[in-house]
């Protein structure tokens, strides 16, 4: 059996195993923990997509919260039942065509995919003018555009219901759908990163002028990374809308982008598996750290609950991690099957040999 087909089979087995794990988790863990797990999976989708543009293509975008908002509102508008729509838009009526139909449950994946398309279209419109800029300028331009989207969400009342938001979205983002989308995101993005397009993105990151001189259509490659990244931001936003069952401009504020930035820097810019693992861990840890905000009594000292204490501890953790792992936890490395063979190589001696041969040189 060739090396490649063996890895494909292993990947399929792993995916099956993850779904079995999800099935077990749903039966054994309580609703609260499952919510955290689902949030973690949604973060995985957004972070992996964000890493494509920031880590792999090296274009510093600050826009994902805007694209997540597009996906979130798209799913909300498509999935909200008709009677609920009448109830929500009481100030101004909802515009056509959204006031005329709503998707039933089997069409939820389609709605999420359309949320992704909304994110991708947004990225296309933002990307065409702003990807001609570089570095800090690109960051400022994308930041500005995402702010515009949030301002629009606040003011386009006939579509978004303004600051009141949209509530009563059916909760269809169960563990299987979240896991399924997360797997799709990781698979598509890692395959893209390892294709010739991915190499072109990395070469643009390393030296844009040299890439251009090599015959790489630099602008098109950047736009490709940006649009794919926007698609998965939209998907993540759509799933999040259905998980929380409400969307409002506040949900997709800049702090969302900030969280994602923390995740991809912490996981290692350019490492897809790194940002996937970190995204999941980020969601779990920020829940676990909730206890520091509750009132505590340590010996004779009584500390009242301090809101925001969590972020303080989090920042401290970040500072420490950045001191000891300057390139993020994974750097540019990936958890690949080769890596696994090398780690647990005693079982498959051949794979380990091939790997050690490779690492010796790099």
């Amino acid at each position: 059996m060739s090396d490649k087909s063996r890895k494909t089979i292993l990947t399929i087995i792993l995916i099956g195993f993850l779904f079995v794990l999800a099935w077990l988790a749903e039966r054994c863990l309580d609703e609260y923990v499952m919510r955290v797990v689902r949030t973690g999976l949604i973060y995985v989708i957004a972070a992996v997509g964000y890493n494509l543009i920031n880590g792999i293509a090296g274009q510093f975008s600050l826009g994902p919260n805007g694209f997540m908002a597009l996906g979130g509102y798209m799913v909300a508008l498509l999935m909200l039942p008709l009677d609920q729509k009448k109830f929500v838009w009481f100030l101004q009526p909802l515009i056509w065509p959204f006031n005329a139909f709503s998707f039933s449950k089997p069409f939820f994946p389609l709605a999420v995919a359309l949320g992704g398309v909304a994110g991708a279209l947004g990225a296309l419109i933002v990307g065409i003018p702003s990807l001609r800029l570089r570095g800090d300028y690109l960051a400022i331009a994308t930041f500005g555009f995402s702010q515009i989207i949030i301002v629009l969400a606040n003011n386009l009342i006939p579509i978004t219901n303004g600051a009141l938001g949209i509530k009563g979205i059916p909760e269809y983002a169960d563990i299987y759908r979240c896991l399924g989308w997360a797997i799709v995101a990781v698979l598509i993005i890692s395959n893209l990163a390892n294709s010739s397009y991915g190499r072109a993105m990395k070469s643009v990151r390393d030296d844009e002028v040299a890439a251009e001189a090599m015959g790489i259509p630099v602008f098109r490659i950047k736009l490709l990374a940006f649009v794919v990244s926007g698609f998965f931001a939209g998907v993540a936003g759509g799933l999040m809308a259905s998980l929380i069952t409400t969307v409002s401009p506040n949900l997709f504020s800049f702090s969302m982008t900030f969280n994602l930035l923390i995740i991809i820097v912490l996981g290692g810019l350019g490492s897809i598996t790194g940002s996937a693992v970190t995204a999941f861990a980020f969601a779990l840890i920020s829940e676990v750290l909730r206890f520091v905000e509750s009132p505590m009594t340590i010996g004779p000292i009584h500390i009242p609950g301090i809101a925001g204490m969590r972020m303080l501890v989090f920042s401290l953790l970040l500072v420490l991690l950045m001191i000891f792992y300057r390139r993020g936890l994974f750097g540019k490395r990936e958890i690949s099957w080769d890596w696994v063979f090398a780690r647990f190589g005693k079982i498959t001696g051949k794979g380990a040999e091939a790997w050690s041969h490779k690492t010796e040189r790099s």
């Binding site: 190499r199 990395k202 070469s203 390393d206 040299a210 090599m214 015959g215 790489i216 259509p217 040189r361």
Partner: protein, 239 residues
């Protein structure tokens, strides 16, 4: 037959008039060199030919087609590639990936393999040993070899080289020039920009001397090598 014809080329960088009416010809199958001091416009000429700098007026004709307003990645497709000054290799890609980026637009997989074989096996055996190593970990000389190899991977009809000997030890400079004549023997036309005027003129069929954005002298390699003014100004020889 000239493969490249540049006529009355002007390039401005903002308010600076970098090239003032440069005209030159590169006949097919030859090595043509541009020599001159710092800031004479050598690199600008190459940047204009490869589309990285825009000509404000004048024409650049490559195999009968005007390319002065064609985008850089299209120019590579047409058959011009460049090893830029300062090597500019991709630090985080492996040596093999760097080479493959040179063949980015090519569809003929079999021929690409043959070229890879030739470049990494015959021209630069050092690169073969370092295939899976990151580009950034190579020494200066190896990086230069990689830059030239990468430019060759597009199988160019015209190879532009900007200061390939810059910052290299004398022995490596010899190595680079040996490889250039080897590439030339394979039928590749070369436009070479060099500060190392002596070595460049020795292997060149024809040479142009740039000064202050204009061509002040031109002639065959031997003529220029023998010219009193060239010897004084660029070869560092006294009376």
């Amino acid at each position: 037959m000239s493969i490249l014809k540049v006529r009355d080329l002007n390039v401005h960088y903002g308010g600076i008039h970098a090239l003032k009416g440069v005209s030159l010809d590169v006949p097919e199958g030859t090595i043509v060199t541009l020599i001159g001091a710092n800031g004479a416009g050598k690199t600008t000429t190459l940047r204009a030919i490869t589309g990285l700098a825009r000509a404000s007026s004048g024409s650049i004709e490559f195999r009968g087609r005007d390319i002065s307003s064609v985008s850089p990645h299209e120019i590579v497709r047409l058959g011009i590639s460049m090893a830029a000054e300062g090597r500019r290799i991709f630090y985080n890609l492996t040596v093999l990936e760097n080479l493959m980026m040179g063949a980015y637009h090519r569809q003929d997989t079999e021929e690409v393999k043959k070229d890879l074989e030739w470049i990494s096996g015959v021209l630069f055996p050092r690169l073969r040993e370092r295939f899976s190593q990151k580009g950034g970990t190579l020494s200066g000389g190896e990086q230069q070899m990689l830059a030239v190899g990468r430019a060759l991977m597009s199988r160019p009809k015209l190879l532009c080289l900007d200061e390939p000997s810059l910052g290299l030890a004398p022995l490596l400079v010899q190595e680079v020039f040996r490889v250039l004549s080897e590439i030339h023997d394979e039928g590749c036309t070369i436009l070479l920009v060099e500060q190392n005027a002596k070595a460049a003129l020795k292997i060149a069929d024809y040479g142009y001397v740039l000064r202050g954005g204009t061509i002040t002298m031109h002639g065959t390699g031997e003529e220029l090598l023998a010219d009193e003014r060239v010897r004084k100004a660029y070869l560092g020889e006294g009376e």
